[in-house]
């Protein structure tokens, strides 16, 4: 038996992880959000009302099969989502199955112990998932502009998309505990989602949502941790969010198989379920936007109606539901497909970038520590990066980039177009324009005994002209202009 506290925390994590991630990408203002959430609340009430009288383990084979297939698709969607997020944000270069494999094995491990062990795990994860999130929300709250939340009109389509985000509310059916505790969990999830939406859209408005597939991730990337010990908080935050995605992914794997009971048949069914998830997640080549669009359509037109109709077709057949999971022999193929591992001293730490354009070609200067400067040319950012690797014995590292200077002939919009898919740099990198030749900035180290990147950061801070790339992408602020006086950049 799981306790009320365990049920409440399990529900909070499982219901929150996907809704929190997508809500701010779906709605652009509070009007759109509130209508969608109202519909979701009614949907939750529906499941609360039938929850304690309806047990999936008691329904007939056909309905069980429908549930298994639906949860299989959810598991595939969430697995692919995790794979794409990790690949984009944490492990660029790793193959899909290599990234997904550990999550997959862990979900088998977590589900093998049954509902009680799962509940214990989620009870434990509760603080690790929500505490850092609250810290981020508090840090971000100071930049919220409430007027952004009411800009724009009402679009039914957006509200429907919000409602679709709450499709996971169906898992309320799997909990037979006190209704009051379930309601508390729902209040928490709805409240937290609202808070995340307010902070995300309140920081940069609807433009942010348009510029990014997942605006929440961008919001997290914009937050700076006080004290300066951790330069990029977003990586840790994303890791915590992946823990919560793991919770809902493993939940669908669990709920998709446990009601078939024990026995050889259900064992092979579980193998088929898990094997299928591994195969589909590993080898599908969908990008994030296609995945979201595809799944949204499926949920809206097929899954949600099924979720509502299935509990209404009740039968009295009873069977004990047990988890049967075993898939474990894949680890041996781990070698050789991993992300690129580069030692700390084999990286070229770019502190500032200067860009100039001439006849549709970009000339980019990479400013490195100890007065080193590497100049490359190319038609696109990808070409420039490749060119850099050809001329340097070290791996290009943009994680410590402090500033980007847009020189003569470079249109800020072109730059935005080129950089919007680049994930290696922090969104807090400062942006400048200049009419001076970029070459002139090379002398900065001699004149100030500081790297160009750090110098520009302090300069902007002193003059209160800190416009970050994140600001610019969200359409906020004017990019400050740099000039050179007596060999030193000035604003």
């Amino acid at each position: 038996m799981i306790s009320n506290r365990q049920m409440k925390r399990t529900l909070m994590i499982e219901l929150f992880s996907t809704t929190g991630l997508f809500l701010s990408a779906m709605a652009q203002n509070l009007k759109q959000l509130s209508l969608g959430m109202l519909a979701a609340a009614l949907y939750a009430v529906y499941f609360l009302c039938i929850g304690n009288h309806y047990q999936i383990s008691q329904v007939g084979r056909i309905r069980k099969t429908v549930y298994t297939v639906r949860f299989f698709l959810y598991a595939c969607f969430l697995g692919t989502l995790m794979k794409l997020l990790v690949s984009k944000m944490l492990l660029g270069g790793g193959s899909g199955w290599f990234i997904f494999l550990p999550v997959f094995l862990l979900s088998i491990y977590a589900n093998r112990g049954g509902r009680e062990e799962r509940a214990r795990l989620l009870e434990l994860l509760f603080w690790f998932v929500f505490l850092p999130l609250f810290v981020v929300l508090i840090l971000a709250a100071k930049d919220v502009h409430l007027e952004y939340l009411i800009q724009g009109g009402f679009h039914a389509e957006k509200s429907i998309q919000v409602f679709v985000c709450f499709s996971s509310l169906e898992i309320l059916l799997f909990f037979t505990g006190e209704r009051r505790e379930k309601v508390k969990a729902l209040f928490f999830v709805f409240g937290l989602n609202l808070l995340i939406f307010i902070v995300t859209i309140g920081m940069y408005g609807a433009k942010m949502a348009e510029a990014s597939d997942l605006p929440v991730v961008t919001m997290i990337q914009m937050v700076r941790f006080p004290g300066g010990f951790v330069e990029r908080l977003d990586i840790f935050m994303l890791a915590f969010w992946i823990l919560s995605l793991f919770a809902i992914f493993s939940a669908y794997c669990f709920y998709g198989t446990f009601f078939w009971g024990k026995g050889k048949g259900s064992f092979w069914l579980s193998c088929l379920f898990y094997g299928g998830v591994l195969a589909i997640v590993s080898w599908n080549q969908l990008d994030l936007q296609t995945l979201i669009d595809f799944f949204q359509t499926y949920v809206l037109w097929l899954d949600l109606p099924l979720a509502v109709i299935l509990p209404l077709l009740n039968t009295k057949r009873r069977k004990r539901a047990v988890v049967v999971t075993m898939l474990s022999t894949l680890l041996f193929i781990v070698t050789g497909c991993g992300p690129k591992r580069v030692n700390i001293e084999e990286r070229a730490y770019v502190l500032a970038i200067g860009v100039e354009a001439k006849e549709e070609r970009w000339k980019v200067s990479f400013f490195l520590p100890e007065n080193e400067r590497i100049e490359t040319e190319g038609k696109s950012w990808e070409e420039i990066k490749k060119e850099f690797q050809r001329s340097s014995d070290k791996e290009l590292e943009l994680g410590h980039l402090k500033a980007v200077i847009l020189g003569k002939g470079v249109e800020a919009e072109d730059f935005k177009e080129q950089w919007k898919n680049e994930q290696d740099y922090a969104k807090t990198v400062l942006l400048f324009t200049t009419q001076e030749p970029i070459k002139e900035f090379e002398k900065i180290d001699e004149n100030t005994r500081d790297s160009l990147g750090s110098f520009l950061v302090e300069l902007a801070e002193r003059n209160k002209k800190e416009i970050t790339i994140g600001d610019y992408f969200a359409g906020r602020g004017k990019i400050p202009d740099l000039s050179i006086r007596k060999g030193i950049p000035t604003l």
């Binding site: 550990p102 300066g228 840790f236 890791a239 990286r347 590292e397």
Partner: protein, 484 residues
Amino acid sequence: MQIKKEISDELQQNIDYLEQRFAKCADIIKKQFSIGKYRGYHVYLMYTDGLVDAVMIQDSIIRPLLNETLEDYPKSVEEWVIESADRKQVFDMEEAIINILAGNTLLFFDGCDFAIQVSSKKFPNRGIQSPEQEVSIRGPKDSFNESLRFSTALIRRRIRDTRLKVEQMQVGVRSKTDIAILYMEDLVHEEMLADIKEDIEQLCVDGILDGGVLEQFLEKRTNTPFPQYQHTERPDKVASGLMEGRIAIVVDNSPGVLLLPVTLNVFFQAADDYYNRWETASFARVLRYISAMIAIGLPGLYIAIANFHTEVLPTDLILSFAKARQGVPFPVVVEVLMMELAFELLREAGIRLPGQLGGTIGIVGGLIVGQAAVDAGLVSTIVVIVVSLTAIASFSVPSESFRGAFRLLKFFMMIVCAIWGLYGYFLGWLAIAIHLCSIESYGIPYLAPTVHGGEEKDYVLRMSWKKMKIRPSFTKEGARRRQK
């Protein structure tokens, strides 16, 4: 297989049988006397040399027997001649033999179908010494030793309550090791007690030479690095555990006592946490939790950051790390693995070497070889710092058996971080969390009270004694209140 044999009233039959059973046992003392006014009765005395109090045997058994006239034989020898309160009649030959080997003296009389067993145990022991593994600044300084009776006495001295029960049994087909199960009758979960007794009774092994062997035979899950019994050498810790409804198992010849059930939390509790002010104790406990995380995760985290995610650290710091690694011929993973293995080697060598040499190896290994390795460019300074910090952190956890788990998990984390970077780091912790959630100790989840609810005033923080009014979930329902 032993054949059950009754003691015969023919003394010579008993002697023949015992001579045969104890043939070629030079440590067994066997002596026949003639006693009584006319030296008309015969007695056969047996004991194990070295395990008995020879003076007591001489003064309280042999002298009275030789001096008494024994007019009312055999009633006189049964009831008043032998000057010992701890004596009893034994009718079974096998029981008599076991008692001889356990340090008692057995007397077989002419015409009696029983033997008289007199307690004369006096085992060689090293006295009561200070604990070596669980040192505390404040609080009692005595520790258990190899004698079961001394150990139970040290506990009884602290709990003078008839509700403290001591049940004794023997385990081991050959070793016949004495085992005592201690519990507070009104606090213990009866099912748990029955469960542990059944587990012990069902054991069929050659011998139990230490509590560690018994622990491994009794543990429910063998595929985990985490200990499922708490081993302690401190009587105050055992007394405190008993008063929380836990069960203590004392094994003869083992200088420690096993406490069960356990949760992860108990391994972070030091004895002096309860003797110091709660603020200081809580701070120390928080430090121990953090140090446990460092001990398991720091080398892996360094590998993940250095190999995959340099952007999480400030630029100046990362540049200084990169500079420190210039010229090191090995990749970061190999460098850290090499240093960690070298440290484990030093630790192992330090334990095996005799006292003062053990300390020397630490200094030679840690300072001289470490510095030489840095100077030679084999490892970078930052890795030396990471490995040292990991070692210091691991030693701050009070339980040695628990620290053993860290040593293994540290390498697991290093491997997953080398493969998947920070993603692997978090998944590694997730794997550990899933594993911990699956462990139970006699029905109590290993992660209680985090995942099970219950009393949290003696958890990561230790609240003041006045607030700790409820006993933890080890205690049976209905007996949880310990203060009014």
